[in-house]
Symmetry: C2
Subunit: 208 residues, 2 copies
């Protein structure tokens, strides 16, 4: 048995063609401007349910790209999502990726205040100058903290990607973000994850 010599780009193109065909067979129609994001999420999960559950505020992708063109950073709530975002593609526009979750000071502050590290991480990110995109694939408390900062401090992130996965507080936290006037991309329901958050960032970057 010999390992085939396959070019990664060919595999991706073939995969996207299969996804396109199967979506058509299922009768799922995705607006052209959203399709690259939805399809990359399906590519990352092999789960076609995302075609039904992903939701976007008006012009969310275009607004995210404008923010990236002006040097927006991407803040994640896990080191996994951080590892998954294409840093070279973001650096081309001057942006960088940040995750505060493993910072010992964040852990200390969270413990002292009796809140989650994700909540403290969001506060730290919100204190930074310049446009910020949040890619949240894990912690519903990250989304709830962002909602609180938006409501009480007038904080305006460039985009919130709200795709935590889970069984407790996740559905509600996503709805809290969908009620804001901030640009958002959310996967309704329980599904999501760090890989999904990174895939959405990369789909936005690759279409620029």
């Amino acid at each position: 048995m010999k390992v085939d010599h396959i070019r990664p780009q060919d595999i991706e193109n073939t995969s996207m063609q299969i996804i396109r065909e199967e979506l058509a067979q299922m009768g799922k129609e995705i607006p052209a401007e959203l399709a690259p994001v939805v399809m990359r999420v399906i590519h990352t999960t092999a789960d076609f349910e995302y075609a039904d559950t992903m939701a976007f505020s008006p012009c969310a992708i275009e607004k995210a790209r404008e923010a990236i063109r002006s040097g927006a950073r991407i803040v994640t709530d896990t080191n996994m999502a951080l590892a998954g975002v294409n840093k070279k593609a973001l650096a081309k526009w001057g942006g960088e990726t940040i995750c505060f979750m493993a910072d010992p000071e964040v852990a200390e502050e969270a413990s002292a205040r009796g809140i989650t590290r994700a909540a403290v991480s969001m506060e730290r990110a919100a204190a930074l100058d310049g446009p910020t995109i949040f890619a949240i694939g894990n912690a519903p408390t990250a989304l709830l903290t962002l909602r609180e900062l938006i409501d009480t401090k007038g904080y305006k992130p460039a985009l919130i990607i709200g795709v935590p996965v889970g069984f407790v507080n996740v559905v509600n936290a996503k709805e809290q973000i969908m009620e804001t006037q901030i640009p958002w991309i959310v996967n309704r329901g329980r599904k999501g994850g760090s890989g999904v958050a990174a895939a959405i960032c990369n789909a936005i970057l690759y279409g620029m």
Copy 2:
């Protein structure tokens, strides 16, 4: 609106209880020794389909734990999976996590030989002394290379976690691993991913 003060461990316990109840409602019975792994994958994906598709060679989990007790390393095929494995839990037994994918020498060799970086990464890992667990969530060519090393060089990994996600070559690559006499944990079909690979590693570690 105030962010609730929720303890992560409470959320996880509640989530696992919900998963247990819903599995029971669906009539899905999972053998007790496999349940911690299958349930952690469902916890990571919110996708109950894994209860039907995950497969294990005889005593795979117990053999993996024996290997970890003797200091096994965990080799991943993505930096995302690397970021997701609980390194503290592994270090307690003397093991470390490794991923060769971002090594510039690996990229050069792959390009020169016209094979994937994942294939070169597996060869490098297989050349290391001592027990090795492979956690493959992305590249089918990683699995095909391991199969080749097993067949032609008599290579004996301690465990292969074969859960690449995707639409091209993925299903076959998983089957190639299931035909070996090496301990394996595989998710049949298209689904999987770096998060799933890390979740399986962590479930093994947390049960020790």
